[in-house]
């Protein structure tokens, strides 16, 4: 696994990136993926050049901490490096966004559980929680996949604009203000759309047999 700061050490890569920066161009996704498949370290450099800001934004939406965001970003490159020879993402940004989102949520939960350690009340609740029999990991995974499938199906029934607003908010964790700007709508309208979409999802999941 190459270092994410490795591009600073390679003169050629640095100049190539610098020239591309001056020309205002970035490498196409397919070429970056080719580099991953060829196990070429430039894949990391080019990914960083093209998507660093984008990925940090996704992570910051969840963590609100620059240090954690950088850690997430580096882990994302590592995950992509390890996964890419099997995966061939069509759109690299959404592929990387999924990775960094899930990593950021993991860090968020770990961070919260660390805070809970200071609370004896929280610890006692956790101890009691362990007594309650729960489903196996396999079961949880299956349920998770079923739930994901159901949510995907639900989203397909919605109008594209509402669907994208929903995903922006609950996948990318974008701020309402940013979503409103992207959609060319008022923030109030976005909040209203999200409220109706949540209610519609609840109804849909109930119909599908999920206990929500």
């Amino acid at each position: 696994m190459p270092s994410t700061s490795g591009f600073c050490l390679h003169k050629g890569l640095f100049w190539e990136s610098f020239v591309r920066f001056l020309r205002g161009r970035k490498m196409e996704d397919s070429k970056i993926v080719d580099l991953y498949w060829a196990r070429d370290e430039r894949a990391i450099t080019e990914t960083s050049v093209k998507y660093s800001r984008y990925l940090k934004k996704v992570a910051f939406n969840i963590l609100a901490d620059n240090g954690d965001c950088e850690e997430c970003e580096n882990d994302t490159y590592m995950r992509a490096w390890n996964a890419m020879p099997d995966d061939r993402p069509e759109l690299l940004s959404s592929y990387l966004a999924r990775i960094i989102r899930n990593l950021a949520i993991d860090i968020f939960r770990k961070r919260n559980s660390m805070k809970r350690k200071d609370s004896e009340y929280a610890l006692s609740i956790d101890e009691l929680d362990e007594m309650i029999p729960s489903g196996s990991t396999v079961e949880q995974e299956v349920e998770g996949k079923l739930l994901s499938g159901a949510i995907s199906d639900f989203l397909r029934t919605r109008k594209a604009e509402k669907r994208n607003i929903f995903i922006s908010r609950y996948f990318y964790c974008d701020a309402i203000k940013d979503i409103a700007e992207n959609a060319g709508m008022k923030e109030v309208s976005v909040r209203s759309v999200l409220l109706r979409e949540r209610e519609a999802l609840r109804e849909y999941l109930k119909k599908e047999g999920f206990a929500v």
């Binding site: 759109l91 949520i105 349920e143 994901s148 989203l155 109008k159 990318y172 060319g184």
Partner: protein
């Protein structure tokens, strides 16, 4: 005691996890939405108004415009300093342009002659320069100038060319003649090899045939007439054209030609200062020393 929110939290987390694994195509569509690439079906409000997280802001737009320009400027200056050995010692062909001549437009007959540019290098340049010096020692300055304008123009040119020879390295003074001078009035010599006048042909009697039209980025010319010019000697004719320069205005150009001469002379007079008749009168006063 658990609140409602506490009880819902694990479910919400499960849903958030599930949303994290929604189908790739939905995610791609949403990603395009966030980057401002909206599908045509979006008609809400001011569709296309949204900027998208990928779209460059003011700083980004500035980067795309200003940085390449700044880099090009720095590179250009660097190349000038490196190759030319200093920004104020630019060289053209084998001859140097002094700082005064840098301000002069480079739209002169000599400069436009490609053969001139090719030949003016090294020893060839020196040889050429000597021959040009000889030519310029014998200016066809008006002997009996009937107007002060013509005299002033001639004197101005003499002084300027003398200064150019003294102060600069240039041995080709006609190159440094600004168009403003030509427009206001001056005389210069032109080698017959100059590209602009190469197409002048002569009939059996020695009278010029053809029209030395000048057309470049700035100048267009209109042929007026040609006539004999016995005052200059046997075989001399003048061709009168009205040249229109988009920067310096209109001026009459008399080209004095002789089939047997290897140099022509050119008199230009401002069309705003002189009528055609007045210009012809001045042209008639020109004598060869």
């Amino acid at each position: 005691m658990n609140t409602d929110a506490d009880r819902k939290k694990p479910e919400a987390e499960a849903i958030m996890d599930a949303i994290g694994n929604i189908d790739e195509d939905l995610l791609m569509e949403a990603d395009r939405f966030r980057t401002g690439q909206k599908p045509a079906e979006y008609t809400h409000g001011s569709s296309g108004k949204g900027r998208g997280l990928h779209a460059p802001g003011k700083a980004g737009r500035l980067r795309y415009i200003a940085l390449p320009i700044a880099a090009a400027a720095v590179l250009f200056i660097g190349v000038i300093i490196f190759v030319k050995g200093g920004p104020l010692s630019l060289k053209m062909g084998g001859a140097s342009m002094d700082t005064a001549s840098q301000t002069a437009p480079a739209e002169y007959a000599m400069a436009e002659d490609p053969s001139f540019a090719e030949e003016t290098s090294g020893a060839a340049a020196e040889k050429e320069a000597e021959s040009y010096e000889e030519e310029f020692n014998g200016y066809p300055i008006a002997e009996s100038a009937e107007t002060t304008e013509a005299t002033d123009a001639a004197l101005n040119m003499e002084a300027a060319e003398g200064e150019a020879l003294e102060t600069g390295e240039s041995k080709l003074p006609e190159i440094t003649l600004p168009d403003e001078w030509k427009a206001s009035g001056c005389i210069t010599s032109v080698p017959v090899s100059a590209e602009l006048y190469r197409n002048i042909e002569f009939d059996d009697s020695g009278a010029p045939m053809g029209n030395p039209e000048i057309t470049d980025n700035h100048t267009s010319s209109e042929f007026i007439k040609s006539a004999g010019c016995e005052e200059l000697g046997e075989g001399w004719y003048y061709i009168l054209t009205l040249q229109k320069h988009d920067l310096t205005g209109d001026y009459w150009v008399f080209l004095f030609v002789n089939r047997d001469s290897d140099v022509y002379y050119e008199l230009s007079l401002s069309a705003e200062c002189f009528s055609e008749e007045e210009a012809e009168e001045i042209a008639g006063s020109v004598r060869l020393k």
